[in-house]
């Protein structure tokens, strides 16, 4: 494997030494560009008390290209589809090389705190969210309990 760019080494070091509260990212031992991530559901959100697993991959062109992030834990959220793909501006058009792994993961956490059903990825979920918000939130809470409880 080609040697790891200094940027990735630095970021990894900082993630370990100075972790973000509620977020944990550990590089895979075989591939240092592949991170296993857990994010705690933000308080006062339907995802509270849940621990969500994600995977994060740094493409060859990182940091010029955005990292690839995907939920592994099932989640009921209008901007996250059944395959765990996330609709988030900083992962696509608004990516800038000045952003980092930690800022991206913080944005994902913020997305959990404030779902945006007006710009949906999972259309059915978004529709529920707009029509019967209470029911949708209850369902999100239920899924969190069912799939994302702390082990």
């Amino acid at each position: 494997m080609a040697s790891l760019p200094k940027r990735i080494i630095k970021e990894t070091e900082r993630l370990v030494l100075d972790p973000v509260p509620g977020i944990n990212a550990v590089p895979h031992e075989d591939n240092l560009r592949y991170f296993q991530v857990t994010i705690e559901g933000p308080q006062q959100s339907p995802y509270e008390d849940g621990v969500f697993e994600l995977e994060l991959f740094l493409p060859d062109d990182y940091p010029m290209e955005a990292p690839k992030v995907r939920f592994l834990t099932k989640i009921y959220h209008p901007n996250i589809d059944r395959l765990g793909r996330i609709c988030l501006d900083v992962l696509k058009a608004n990516w800038s090389p000045a952003l980092q792994i930690r800022t991206v993961l913080l944005s994902v956490q913020a997305l959990l705190a404030s779902p945006n059903p007006n710009d949906p990825l999972a259309n059915d979920v978004a529709e529920d969210w707009l029509k019967h918000e209470d029911e949708a939130i209850a369902k999100a809470r239920e899924w969190t309990k069912q799939y994302a409880s702390r082990k």
């Binding site: 760019p5 200094k6 940027r7 630095k10 062109d61 940091p63 010029m64 290209e65 090389p97 000045a98």
Partner: protein, 542 residues
């Protein structure tokens, strides 16, 4: 690329001749306005394009590149046929990306005095405003400062930092995290990164044609910054890419050619005529410099004799029904005699089995004998083939039959394009080996063009036939016309398989005659199809 006029040739030349070359036989008076505009722009062009002129546009070696010298048959046959009969005409021109950019500059020239800032900056603002000049002007008159800040042309707070390349002895770049960086770049915002990171960052964004901003905030990089960092006149590339946004905003007047890898833009100068076309069941077909014919309205390839509605309904239906059909019909057929699998790898439908030497027609799988003559029945759907089938089954079978024909001709026309490339080789061989002049070899590309146009008309005549009332006399005439065009096209296709250069020259007259025959049959079929539509004998329904 033997005959194409290089871009640089006409950038320096006088602009009148440029426009005329593209518009050899259409309305010059309509273009008066455009002409004028572009003549203003040429002084500006030089400012942006004194680098090596665009390679991308001259890169593709296409066999029909002799475009600017094309004689009158360059325009579509059908258009020419209608020109006398009082039906609408479209005035259009085909622009390269560079000409398109010149046109944008000419437009900017008109509004520049209001802003009194550079063209590059106006383009930045227009990009931010989705190329809506009205909205930009409105906001600009209200609050210039706010517009400048929101477009990233100015910082919200004043700063005493300078913009530009900086020299250091030991700089740590926050993007790559490498230390010992000597050269960096920063904007007034103070975000500073090494020159290598900036280069990489900018290069990735040049083709997007959007504003390139500081990596950490929304302050925009200007053209001189981009050139200072990347070199190679890169800001020009960015400016050229920015026309995408412009075309998107003004898509009533401008359309990209939908063919793969074609960078031509069609500009229609009398869009009011567009609304006239549906009344006549005609479609506004345009031809780009690479001889791709497409419909300006729906963006599909030329679909005469059908109108846009036939094409739309047919395409929708094909998408629903044809997934499986495609698999069945694709690629191979068994020889009707010995059963060996045969793949069709040339455009002609006259097949000779390699194993048993049986000659048959690829479409109807009947013996070839008689196909050249008067008994050409391949395009006829014989309704009473099998009676007793239920209504729905019959209609599916009917659809399958027509769809099969449609896709056969689609495949054939793809192969014809390949044949066209071979023709280019032949033309070159003729010139080099036999010493025949360029103009004398033009019957070959002309033949292939007639062939392709004929084939496309045939292809789209099947949807028309499918939606037409089969009992009506005119439908029968239409089917007869189809058969005639099929045999004309097949004849020409076969002739184009001739490989020996001497033989080709010797049969020049034959090429001419067959191509002309295809053209006249093409015209007849198109007219007949239009009649079916006008008289509502052909009614497309989903």
């Amino acid at each position: 690329m033997a005959y194409s006029v290089k871009l640089s040739d006409y950038l320096d030349g006088d602009e009148d001749s440029v426009i005329l070359e593209f518009e050899s036989d259409s309305e010059i008076d309509e273009l008066g306005e455009v002409d004028e505009d572009s003549s203003h722009s040429y002084s500006e062009v030089n400012e942006f394009s004194d680098g090596p002129s665009d390679k991308k546009d001259t890169g593709g070696s296409r066999y029909l590149d002799a475009d600017q010298k094309k004689p009158s048959w360059g325009r579509g046959l059908t258009e020419m046929a209608y020109e006398s009969s009082g039906v609408p005409k479209l005035a259009y021109s085909c622009l390269t990306t560079d000409q398109m950019f010149d046109l944008i500059l000419a437009r900017l020239e008109r509004i520049q005095p209001i802003f009194e800032i550079s063209y590059g900056d106006i383009i930045v603002m227009l990009q931010k405003y989705g190329w809506s000049e009205e909205r930009l002007l409105e906001d600009w008159t209200e609050d210039q400062e706010r517009v400048l800040v929101s477009c990233g042309l100015k910082l919200a707070t004043s700063s005493n930092r300078s913009r530009g390349i900086q020299d250091h002895s030991d700089f740590v770049c926050n993007i790559c995290c490498e230390s010992n960086k000597q050269r960096t770049f920063r904007l007034e915002c103070g975000h500073e990164y090494c020159i290598e990171c900036y280069k990489h960052y900018i290069k990735d964004k040049l083709l997007e044609g959007k504003i390139i901003s500081c990596m950490s905030c929304s302050l925009a990089l200007k053209n001189p910054d981009i050139d200072a960092i990347v070199g190679d006149n890169s800001s020009q590339t960015l400016m050229r890419s920015s026309i995408k946004g412009f075309i998107h905003k003004h898509n009533n007047h401008y359309k990209w050619c939908p063919f793969v890898d074609c960078n031509c833009v069609i500009q229609v100068t009398n869009i009011s005529a567009l609304s006239e076309f549906p009344r006549f069941h005609l479609s506004p077909f345009v031809v780009c410099n690479n001889h791709h014919r497409f419909c300006f309205k729906c963006g599909l390839e030329s679909h005469a004799p059908g109108d846009c509605q036939v094409a739309e309904v047919w395409v929708k239906m094909a998408q629903l029904e044809s997934a499986n059909l495609n698999w069945v019909l694709k690629n191979t057929k068994e020889c009707p005699k010995c059963g060996v699998n045969i793949e069709k790898n040339g455009g002609c439908n006259h097949m000779t089995c390699q194993s048993c030497e049986y000659e048959f027609c690829w479409i109807c799988e009947l013996p070839w004998e008689g196909h050249g003559g008067g008994f050409f029945e391949c395009t006829r759907f014989s309704k009473d083939e099998k009676n007793g089938a239920t209504e729905t089954k019959n209609s599916l079978r009917k659809y399958t039959f027509y769809y099969k024909l449609f896709s056969e001709h689609e495949n054939s026309s793809k192969l014809d394009w390949a044949l066209g490339l071979a023709v280019e080789q032949k033309v070159r061989a003729l010139q080099e080996n036999i010493g025949i002049s360029w103009i004398e070899t033009q019957f070959l590309p002309e033949s292939i063009r007639s062939l392709i146009e004929g084939r496309t008309t045939l292809k789209w005549s099947f949807p028309v036939a499918f939606y037409s009332d089969p009992s009506h006399n005119l439908t029968k005439i239409f089917v007869d016309n189809q058969a005639l065009l099929v045999s004309a096209v097949e004849d020409l296709s076969q002739l184009l398989q001739v490989k020996d250069p001497h033989d080709i020259i010797a049969r020049k007259l034959e090429f001419y005659n067959k191509a002309r025959f295809v053209q006249s049959r093409n015209r007849a079929l198109s007219e007949c199809g239009r009649d079916l539509l006008c008289k509502r004998i052909c009614v497309p329904r989903g």
